[in-house]
């Protein structure tokens, strides 16, 4: 069996259970307000934790490639580019930074 299959099955449980639980519960349970607030905050925390400090190691030779890519993505989304536009800006900035680093060394 390929190593990806158990991971994919585990992940599909991790996304199916939160979606299914309310369907199985019926209409009786109402979540307390505190839980509601906390769950609303989770996506922001998740994105923050995913971006930093990982972005500094995106290029193993220097953190500056990640810094350049992050700045480009910030600028692009600041100018209201869609998410994939920010991703594209990051890749182009990283390619530029890598070329620059190569030229300087």
């Amino acid at each position: 069996m390929s190593p990806e299959l158990p991971l994919i099955l585990g992940l599909s449980l991790a996304t199916a259970l939160p979606r299914l639980a309310p369907a199985l519960l019926g209409d009786r349970f109402r979540p307390p307000k505190a839980l509601h607030r906390w769950l609303d905050a989770v996506p922001f925390a998740a994105l923050g934790a995913l971006i930093f400090p990982g972005i500094l190691n995106a290029d193993p030779t220097t953190p500056w490639v990640g810094v350049a890519a992050g700045a480009a993505a910030l600028l692009a989304s600041w100018l209201r580019a869609p998410a994939y536009g920010a991703a594209l800006a990051a890749v182009l900035a990283a390619a530029l930074a890598q070329a620059l680093a190569q030229a300087l060394i």
């Binding site: 299959l5 369907a23 925390a45 536009g85």
Partner: protein, 230 residues
């Protein structure tokens, strides 16, 4: 008027337009991350979650163990408990099987369309199934197209592709902060970044991310409640 299923399918159009490029990006980065094409497509079909799938590729790249990835994705998706608790009672679907099928297809975006688009067909199981089918199909078809196209990326860009995920995360975070997240969302995201930096010193990479998400989200209790909060 046409059948509720078709009206639901039509209501999925803005979601489809939004999903296609993100799904395409997922196909691209999954290829960069070394995932075979079939696994990328199967993941989009079965796991069916945006940020969670990108997080998976990112954590696989860090060498995170599968159990830790599953735990992180579970926490990221707990919000669907709240969404379905809000949505399902409005639909009043009697059959447990049908209710479950509708519940499995709910995402942040289809939830928003179902509640706020004003399309009356979305009050029925048929309409919701149309909406969900449109969104879900575009998600895995877009992933398939991206994973296939990844082989065509020029060599010069290959090493730079490693930053693509981070660009995408930033591109998702900034508009969310501009919208409902606001200053609160920014403080929570920054807290999670700091927590992640600290947690990496003492925990394995995967658990460090899980701990950072839990800690960062908990900072919400230190902040004043927004006036529009439900």
């Amino acid at each position: 008027m046409s059948h509720p299923f078709l009206r639901g399918l039509r209501a999925s159009f803005p979601v489809v337009v939004g999903y296609c490029p993100i799904a395409f990006s997922f196909g691209l980065v999954s290829h960069e991350g070394g995932l075979p094409l079939w696994a990328a497509v199967l993941m989009s079909m079965l796991v069916y979650t945006g940020a969670g799938q990108f997080a998976t590729i990112s954590m696989l790249g860090m060498g995170t163990a599968p159990a830790e990835i599953v735990a992180a994705v579970l926490f990221m998706n707990l919000r669907h408990v709240v969404m379905n608790l809000a949505l399902l009672p409005k639909l009043a679907i009697r059959s447990l099987g049908l209710r479950s099928l509708v519940a499995l297809g709910v995402t942040d975006e289809t939830f928003a369309v179902a509640l706020f688009s004003g399309e009356t067909a979305l009050g029925s199981a048929a309409g919701m199934l149309g909406l969900n089918l449109g969104a879900w199909s575009s998600w895995w078809l877009g992933s398939l197209a991206g994973a296939w196209a990844a082989g065509l990326v020029p060599q010069a860009l290959n090493r730079a592709m490693a930053v693509m995920l981070y660009g995408l995360f930033i591109g998702l975070l900034v508009p969310a902060l501009r919208g409902q997240g606001g200053k609160r969302g920014l403080i929570i995201a920054l807290a999670a970044m700091a927590a992640h930096l600290a947690a990496r010193q003492i925990l394995a990479p995967g658990w460090a991310i899980v701990a950072a998400i839990l800690a960062g989200a908990s900072v919400v209790f230190l902040l004043p409640e927004a006036p529009d909060e439900p």
